[in-house]
């Protein structure tokens, strides 16, 4: 290991913020955060603190990781009940269905019903277009797990859409 491997940090923190803030907040939204801007603020604060004590070479990866962790933490308290609904409930009455926000597509509703890790994998893959290895790093799982999450997630989405037809 050599200190030369330390990559220079050229951008100021403010510059980094303005370059990445919109993307980070949108990632939090797509992962299901109730307050994406709050999650984004937390991510940048942690980045700021991290840069005071260490070299963060992959800023984008670091922010992705923090956002995934932060959204996961905030959802953890409710994730079981969400999954319970996923398994145990039937389709809502037609009257309730009509009242839903019509701007949200069937596919995004189906995405919302996936297990959190499947959703994370799909968003990182199909919105951020991250390579599988990087998704594995962000999610802290093995490469095979990422492949499985994506494969099952897509299959599940396809099934949900089929059911809605």
């Amino acid at each position: 290991m050599d200190a030369d491997e330390v990559l220079p940090v050229d951008l100021s923190f403010e510059e980094l913020f303005y370059v990445h803030a919109v993307r980070v907040a949108r990632l939090a939204h797509l992962l299901g955060a109730e307050d994406p801007e709050d999650v984004a603020q937390e991510a940048f604060f942690r980045l700021y603190a991290a840069r005071r004590t260490q070299q963060v070479a992959n800023v984008v990866g670091y922010l992705n990781r923090i956002v995934v962790n932060e959204v996961r933490t905030r959802q953890r308290r409710t994730v079981v009940s969400r999954r319970t609904r996923l398994h145990l409930t039937t389709a809502p009455p037609a009257s309730e269905q009509v009242e839903r926000d019509e701007s949200v597509s069937d596919l995004l509703r189906a995405l919302d019903e996936l297990a959190p890790r499947q959703r994370e994998a799909l968003v990182l893959r199909y919105w951020l277009d991250l390579p599988l290895a990087e998704i594995a790093a962000v999610m802290q799982v093995r490469l095979g797990t990422v492949k499985s999450l994506i494969s099952r997630g897509i299959a599940r989405l396809g099934q949900e859409l089929e059911d809605l037809r």
Binding site: D2, A3, E5, V6, F17, Y18, A21, A25, R26, H29, L30, P36, E37, A40, Q41, F44, F45, R46, L47, Y48, A49, R52, T53, Q54, Q55, V56, A57, N58, G61, Y62, N64, R65, N69, T73, R76, R77, T78, V79, V80, S81, R83, T84, H87, L88, S105, L107, L108, L111, A115, R117, Y126, W127, E134, A137, V138, Q140, V141, I154, L157, G158
Partner: protein
């Protein structure tokens, strides 16, 4: 790319574009936190470490501590006197922050070697690799402050250096090897206390009394205030685990009755994350412990989140229900189960999975009239 994938890509892009981000407001909010003096780095930890600090203060009065200054630096996994979970849990943080001083032999018989850029528990590389952490031996490591490590000690010789962390008794809980570079002292790797077999806890799913004394229910926790308690809380689960610095920690889970159902409360409280909704009767629910591990920037070795695993639960007054059970399709094992009496003639059934893998738990409500179909979690 099949039709579903193409559609997902398009709709994610469209949905993301619909999010209107107020960047300037966010920047003002971030600045509000980043312009604070250096103690802000400790902010996320101050809240959760308070119970440990208080307990340490009591322990300091009651326990005469003999500091072992022998300086044995062996790093192999050899059995010996221990503060291993299951035999003792010593709150070890002093009130006044890390003390720079000599640190003795290992406090634990089992250790794990970890490398920068590798997540301690998953073994996966973090996304921000390569992280090349440089430490300044002239100041207290931010990580030690953040985690509340009681003691630290730098010893430097030529191009090699060592950063030891110690518990309140002065015994070593982790050793970090350093090498001198043109830019400063670079972290090479760490040997850290861990559970038997190198796991963070020797039995992370054992139900019931696992540590000498469960942490007391906290009526002032945000979760309890959000869903006011209407009866006596019941102790569901109590576990100990090592964090990324080698600190031995404890987490205790309670369920408490509230109007319309029940809620969970974990001690130490996670006041930054609570749920004001009530868990009603007749629904499988659960809590996944998220202990205070290195989720913040203080973590040198990885920004990992360690869950101690789920505790599933089911509240009912239906006499036909006899309990709930958890099985794992991957290994066909079953987790331990308990039952607790709740006010109003209700019973709270719990079960603990032996696997911590998402989607690997089949939870079944057992009935005299025949089991319900299992739900996968």
């Amino acid at each position: 790319m099949n039709q579903t994938e193409s559609r997902l890509t398009d709709e994610l892009r469209a949905e993301a574009a619909r999010v209107d981000v107020d960047v300037d407001r966010m920047w003002s909010a971030v600045q509000g936190r980043t312009v604070e003096p250096s103690p802000s780095v400790r902010r996320p930890w101050g809240r959760v470490l308070a119970p440990y600090a208080a307990a340490a203060a009591v322990a300091a009065v009651l326990v005469a501590v003999a500091v072992n200054l022998s300086g044995n630096d062996g790093t192999t996994a050899t059995p010996g006197p221990t503060s291993e979970p299951g035999t003792a849990v010593k709150p070890s943080q002093p009130v006044g922050g890390p003390v720079d001083g000599a640190i003795g032999d290992w406090a634990c018989p089992y250790r794990t070697v970890v490398n920068p850029g590798i997540d301690m528990f998953s073994g996966s590389p973090p996304p921000f690799k390569p992280v090349r952490v440089l430490l300044d031996p002239s100041v207290v490591p931010a990580e030690a402050l953040g985690y509340g490590v009681p003691r630290y000690n730098f010893s430097l010789s030529g191009a090699k250096g060592v950063l030891d962390y110690g518990d309140s008794a002065g015994q070593r809980i982790s050793r970090t090897e350093l090498t001198k570079t043109a830019k400063g002292w670079l972290v090479v790797r760490r040997t850290v206390c861990s559970g038997q077999g190198g796991k963070p806890s020797p039995d992370p799913v054992k139900l019931g009394t696992y540590t000498p004394k469960p942490l007391a229910f906290n009526k002032n926790a945000a979760q309890v205030k959000a869903t006011p308690i209407t009866g006596t809380p019941v102790l569901l689960d109590d576990r100990s685990y090592y964090d990324g610095t080698g600190m031995l920690r404890q987490t205790t889970l309670y369920a408490f009755p509230v109007k319309g159902g029940y809620q969970f409360a974990r001690v130490p409280a996670e006041d930054g994350s609570f749920d004001s909704s009530v868990i009603p009767e007749g629904r499988i629910a659960g809590d996944a412990g998220v202990p205070i591990t290195g989720a913040g920037p203080e973590a040198i070795f990885a920004d990992y989140t360690l869950s101690v695993g789920w505790v599933f639960s089911y509240l009912t007054r239906d006499a036909d229900v006899t309990g709930i059970g958890v099985k794992h399709p991957s290994n066909d094992s079953a987790g331990p189960a308990q039952r607790f009496t709740f006010p109003g003639g209700r019973t709270l059934y719990t079960a603990v999975p032996t696997s911590r893998q998402d989607g690997d738990a089949l939870v079944t409500v057992h009935r005299k009239s025949g089991d319900e179909a299992p739900a996968r979690f």
